[in-house]
């Protein structure tokens, strides 16, 4: 085993964990001169079960809601010491820690203009505590707090548009990425690190346990989310949409049928139509449809 890897083996993520892949890719792209600030969440729990840690870089966890606030303090301290030019600061959290619990601290960080990359690992529910719905849970998802039944088809609310909320702060860089597209993900991290000011990235990370698919299907599921238009990949620079991954849109069933959390939708044409509408709106909003043939 190589000695210079920054997220070491021996962490306790489930087999096939998308978040473990994404966290590794992000820290490798950012490099060793990085300080990582973590919210509470799966990532914090599986990498740092006391008295052990998988991180090979300086890493700090405080509370659930304040990764962005702690990172702001770290960045200010580095500035005072004159070390900010050579050190990157990454604040990272899951989707609950970003969209629900940590939103106030995140908004403050973006507004004050700290030079920090905030990474949201979006596995679309509170997976660590047993699959409760969060603000980033998509429409019609079966979770333990939005269960399906005779009167319910799962989560009734649409996914919170976090990239747009971050973008509304007028920050220099906002991007979404997916673990299925590794070079794209790492390019975006490197670009964000090279940009001055607050940056927001949201990475789609499948969770085999909560989404109920095979551990080996992580990449298939993540790829299909992008190819159906349910998880658009795009970049905003200074509020302007500068790039998006164009697709030849597939029907949403291709994505839904891979996962147990959407199983109830497959025999429900009315709800399928509503989910397809979500994808169609994304495709229209970001112009995802490839003109002639599928691009890279």
């Amino acid at each position: 085993m190589e000695n210079n890897i920054l997220l070491k083996p021996g962490h306790t993520a489930c087999a096939g964990c998308g978040q473990a892949i994404a966290a590794k890719l992000v820290i490798e792209a950012a490099g060793a001169n990085t300080i990582v600030v973590n919210n509470t969440g799966c990532l914090e729990v599986f990498t740092t079960a006391f008295p052990e840690t998988a991180w090979n870089v300086p890493w700090i966890h405080s509370l659930f809601e304040n990764a962005a606030a702690v990172a702001s303090g770290v960045e200010s301290a580095l500035k005072y010491l004159g070390k900010k030019e050579t050190t990157n600061v990454i604040a990272q959290a899951g989707d609950g820690g970003t969209a629900d619990i940590g939103l106030q601290a995140l908004s403050g960080m973006l507004e004050r203009g700290h030079d920090i990359l905030y990474v949201c690992y979006d596995n679309e529910a509170y997976m660590n505590t047993g699959v409760q719905r969060s603000g980033l849970t998509p429409f019609d998802t079966n979770t333990t707090t939005s269960p399906i039944g005779t009167k319910s088809t799962g989560n009734q609310r649409p996914k919170k548009p976090m990239p747009e909320i971050a973008n509304a702060h007028g920050i220099p860089y906002v991007a979404t990425a997916s673990v299925a597209f590794i070079p794209d993900l790492q390019r975006k991290v490197k670009k964000a690190i090279a940009t001055k000011g607050p940056k927001y990235m949201q990475i789609h990370v499948p969770c085999p346990l909560g989404w109920r698919h095979e551990p080996g299907a992580t990449v298939t599921v993540a790829r299909m989310a992008v190819e159906t238009g349910l998880y658009p990949l795009f970049e905003y620079e200074n509020g302007v949409l500068i790039s998006k991954r164009q697709i030849a849109p597939k029907p949403v069933q291709e994505y839904l049928k891979l996962q147990g959390r959407f199983k109830h939708l497959l025999n429900n044409p009315d709800q399928l139509k509503l989910v397809q509408e979500v994808a169609d709106n994304n495709i229209k909003k970001y112009g995802l449809k490839a003109e002639a043939q599928q691009q890279v």
Partner: protein
């Protein structure tokens, strides 16, 4: 117990998560490898190492047998076999 808790970096090496592997494990055939490093990049455990073609190998001390390396391998040079089989 309260107050800042600190530990030495990368101390999780003591967690031998390979014991979690109960059903399948990857077998690296080392025949058609083109050293694209896709398996290294996708491994959630970060436990695959190798530099040249046909030298890539996972550390079975940590491999949880998720099968992602076998899935992404463009040359089908990694296959999943039953745990415990001598194939």
């Amino acid at each position: 117990m309260f107050g800042p808790l600190t530990v030495k970096p990368s101390k999780s090496k003591g967690d031998k998560t390979g014991a979690w592997r109960v059903h399948m494990r990857p077998k690296y055939l080392q025949k058609d490898c083109i050293a694209c490093r896709l398996c290294v990049q996708i491994c959630p455990e970060n436990c695959i190492s190798g530099k040249e073609k046909n030298t890539f190998m996972p550390d079975y001390t940590y491999c949880k047998g998720c099968g992602l390396c076998a899935f992404v391998c463009p040359k089908k040079d990694i296959e999943m076999i039953e745990e415990g089989s001598q194939k």
